[in-house]
């Protein structure tokens, strides 16, 4: 139950929203999934920017993906490039950065590009859920 590792989705299941977690470390994707599933979110995973772009472009994700949580330091397409892609192709989807490196310049530049939150690992589960909830509200506002 609730195990979505690809774009697979059960439409009849009650959900608070669909979140894509982009991180090259499987461990991080695992705990973020665990943390968010507790708050009733469906979680999709991608291990780099390239996979993340594939995932958001796959079928119903184009319409149903609500929030992206994205790391910066990743192989293939890195976080900065992936986020630029999301912002220009899916401006309705809020992006949260979750990174291991507290870098003020990077944070400023990301927030300027419309990223809604810049979180530095390790982040407490509650803080992460709050950030996702805030992002969900912003997405709904964007729909109005």
């Amino acid at each position: 139950m609730g195990e979505f590792t690809s774009g697979f989705f059960m439409p009849d299941q009650a959900t608070n929203g669909r979140v894509l977690v982009v991180d090259d470390e499987a461990d991080i994707r695992k705990v973020v999934r665990m943390t968010l599933q507790k708050a009733g979110y469906d979680v999709l995973e991608a291990e780099n920017g390239e996979k993340a772009i594939e995932t958001i472009n796959a079928g119903e994700n184009r319409l149903l993906l609500d929030v992206v949580i994205c790391d910066i330091r990743m192989p293939k397409i890195n976080g900065v490039e992936a986020i630029a892609y999301f912002r220009s192709n899916y401006p309705r989807v809020p992006v949260i950065v979750l990174t291991g490196f507290p870098d003020t310049d990077m944070a400023t530049s990301m927030l300027r590009q419309g990223v809604v939150d810049y979180l530095v690992k390790p982040v407490e589960g509650e803080k992460l859920r709050e950030a996702v909830a805030r992002a969900m509200e912003q997405r709904e506002l964007a729909h109005l």
Binding site: D27, I28, M34, T35, R73, K76, G100, V123, E124
Partner: protein, 355 residues
Amino acid sequence: MKHLTDSAVVSTIAPVRVAILGAGRGGTALLDLLHQIPSIEIVGITDRDLQAPGIQRARDLRIPVTDQAEELVRTHGLNLIMDVTGDPAMERFIQSHKRPAADVLSGSAARVLWELVRHEAKLQAELFHAEKLASIGSFAAGIAHDINNPLQLIMGLAENLAEETDLKTVHEQARDIVEAVRRTSAISRDLTQYARKTSARDDAMVALNGRLDEALKIARYATSFHDITVRRDYQPDVAARGNQDELVHVFVNLITNAVHAMERGGGTLTLATRMSRDGVTVSISDTGCGISPDISGQIFEPFFTTKDPGKGTGLGLYNVKTIVTKMHGKIDVESLVDRGTTFTITFPPATETPS
């Protein structure tokens, strides 16, 4: 025109032929310095004690060793006798046996020379350490990444354990936490070991494959290895005489440069070791941007850098070359723009097995 003639004369002039008496610390330091200078020929070294450190070093360097001080002092065509025994009887011995044409450096003159050599070695070591510390500054991003990721895992698992009721999951996640803590503590261990001042202990036979692997681990903090394939092409049991801390730093420098050269688009990093009768080679190759021919002559010069101001010290390859030369090795570079670069270090053949 005159200048050209002069330099032609200089290059054909016979080397200064030197004999060293005394193979203790002073003799060893002189040996290490003088044998690097092409215009000096060391005709031999002697000591009452044939187990003295300088005697072993001379053997490694293929410099003649003798226990016949008189014979050495009387060598034909000898220009200079360097007496670092500090023994007044030796001075008298030399004066009564040497040929008239040979100059003698002994007593406090020899002592001052030795102090200069030691001072130079100390400055070199400080420069080396300063550059190493400066390079560790660039590790910040890598360290933060490698510490904060396991911390995130620990945080998530611990939060879950506070509510988890399934005993099997509890056990599994507790084990994952222990594993993550181990990974994190390994980082501080690796780095503190690397950052410490180079140990002053004597040179020993160093197993090169292990040191390359250690350097690879450290270099991962210095730079991102994303989209880099690492190929390790090691011949077993390859060793060279040197200081292992310095060697690790040499390898970290070359590996980091290689990965930086492949920043755009990734590539393959190849580490290879070979041993033959002619010597031991370590080569570090990348498939990156290459070094343009108009700067390839300068890369080993101090303060030469292609990086932006504030990014590189310009001392990395300079220190690499200094250490390799000190180990009686040489370093060569082959590079093609947009194809890649190979640095090859060649050490003299090993005479012992690694300790």
